[in-house]
């Protein structure tokens, strides 16, 4: 869908939705957990990102319900969102594998023999 790397908040949100549909607060908690506490998404930022992803067709509203008197809308990945996440994961995996390979094969800093 896009050749550019995904921005981190987008990547984290799509990853948080990869295994199951989730509601707003659960997404904030998942993003926090996936990023190891590094990314703390606030409510306004979350809904800005969700509105954008909804408009781009990468996520959809999976359910709207009232649980214990609380309005809750659950979001899920669409097929396009899943494909995009898979492509991004593959891109990151290949970069990471290449980094590991080069680190493993690096005996001396480049230029030391020059």
């Amino acid at each position: 869908m896009t050749e550019r790397a995904l921005q981190e908040p987008t990547l984290l949100l799509l990853t948080a939705l990869a295994d199951a549909p989730r509601h707003g607060y659960a997404l904030i908690q998942e993003v926090d957990a996936i990023s190891g506490g590094r990314v703390k998404m606030r409510t306004g930022t979350l809904y800005g990102a969700l509105d954008r992803l909804l408009q781009q067709g990468l996520i959809e509203v999976a359910a709207e319900e009232v649980v214990d008197g609380r309005a809750r809308r659950t979001y899920a990945l669409t097929g396009g969102g899943r494909d995009l996440l898979a492509a991004e994961a593959e891109r990151l995996r290949s970069v990471a594998a290449e980094a590991q390979r080069r680190l493993g094969g690096a005996a001396a800093p480049r230029g030391a023999t020059a």
Partner: protein
């Protein structure tokens, strides 16, 4: 899920009601309850600072929705396209040898802290407005947008400081709070030099952060060149440049017409117009005010021009919508 003390709950409730009022009514009806639940959960057990941060973030998104400056709205996308150009155009305001401002900057740099303390804030702000826009352009060119936004905020702050100092130190006629005509003229002339920084910095800050990700070397360079060009064309009121005639009108209308291209979905020319407008609008209006002979004579012309542009923009947007529906 939430465990909030009664006092904290009341505080959260008040903050939330105030913040949700900023959202467009339709969005609030659709998402208000959901936003309130997530807000209650995220602020549960946090202190005042945490609640305030969360409320500010929620308010910021509400304002973006209200003003059409989200990353999916046309306004937001236009601002994001204009941001690197704006970062460049501010460099066009650089003081070059031969300018009156160049001598002021050189004098401020030479004297450093060796001036009466009353003059120090203005001198430092003047030096800041010489250096910070260059750093802002470099940050935007490198794609360091977090730094660029901080620097844009600094530019706004420095310009506001200088403008505030001008207002506070304006000569007031003895026995009355009224400014003389000459004072008003000088005050407005000073304002035309500072408002470009305020407006351009504010526009960069208003651009949606999630659309500012790429380095913008070419747009920054184009912006800097264009900024320099229009600043030279504008000249300013001194013994060399009087800038009367059609130039102010041209420098005001040309960017406005370019901005209208956004209604046809052409973001790049619209972004260029938006980047140039903060530099030219104020001095052009000032010059037209001078030529026409006062605010009351300029007001009908300005109102007619604004109405014409608004109607043209709406007509173009309606036509674009019609085409989009057909396709």
């Amino acid at each position: 899920m939430s465990t909030v003390a009664p006092g904290g709950q009341h505080r959260t409730g008040v903050a939330l009601r105030a913040v949700l009022a900023l959202y467009p009514a339709r969005y609030r009806r659709d998402r208000g309850a959901e936003l309130a639940e997530v807000f209650a959960d995220t602020t549960a057990g946090t202190g005042r600072l945490g609640t305030a941060r969360e409320a500010l973030d929620l308010a910021a998104y509400g304002l973006r929705l209200r003003t059409g400056l989200t990353s999916t709205a046309l306004g937001g996308r236009l601002l994001a396209a204009a941001a690197p150009l704006l970062a460049g155009t501010l460099c066009g305001l650089v003081a070059l040898p031969g300018d009156t401002r160049f001598w002021r900057v050189a004098d401020a740099a030479r004297s450093g802290f060796d001036v009466p303390w009353q003059q120090l804030p203005d001198r430092l702000a003047l030096l800041g407005l010489t250096v910070v826009p260059v750093l802002l352009a470099v940050a935007a060119a490198l794609g360091a947008w977090r730094a660029a936004r901080t620097l844009a905020g600094t530019v706004v702050l420095l310009a506001a400081v200088r403008l505030g100092i001008r207002l506070l130190t304006a000569d007031v006629e003895p026995g009355g709070p009224w400014l003389t005509e000459a004072d008003v003229w000088l005050l407005l002339l000073d304002a035309t030099a500072l408002l470009p920084y305020l407006a351009a910095g504010a526009l960069i800050l208003a651009a949606p952060a999630d659309l500012l990700e790429r380095p913008g070397r070419l747009p920054v360079a184009i912006g800097a060149g264009t900024g320099l060009l229009v600043t030279r064309a504008q000249g300013g009121y001194d013994s060399w440049h009087l800038m009367d005639g059609w130039t102010p009108l041209l420098l005001l209308l040309a960017p406005l017409l370019l901005i209208l291209c956004a209604a046809r979905g052409r973001l790049l020319p619209a972004a260029l117009g938006l980047a140039v407008l903060p530099l030219t609008a104020w001095f052009s209006l000032f010059s037209l005010w001078e030529q026409v002979g006062g605010v009351w004579r300029l007001a009908p012309l300005a109102a007619a021009g604004a109405a014409g542009l608004l109607l043209t923009g709406q007509a173009l947007a309606a036509r674009q919508d019609g085409r989009a529906r057909v396709s």
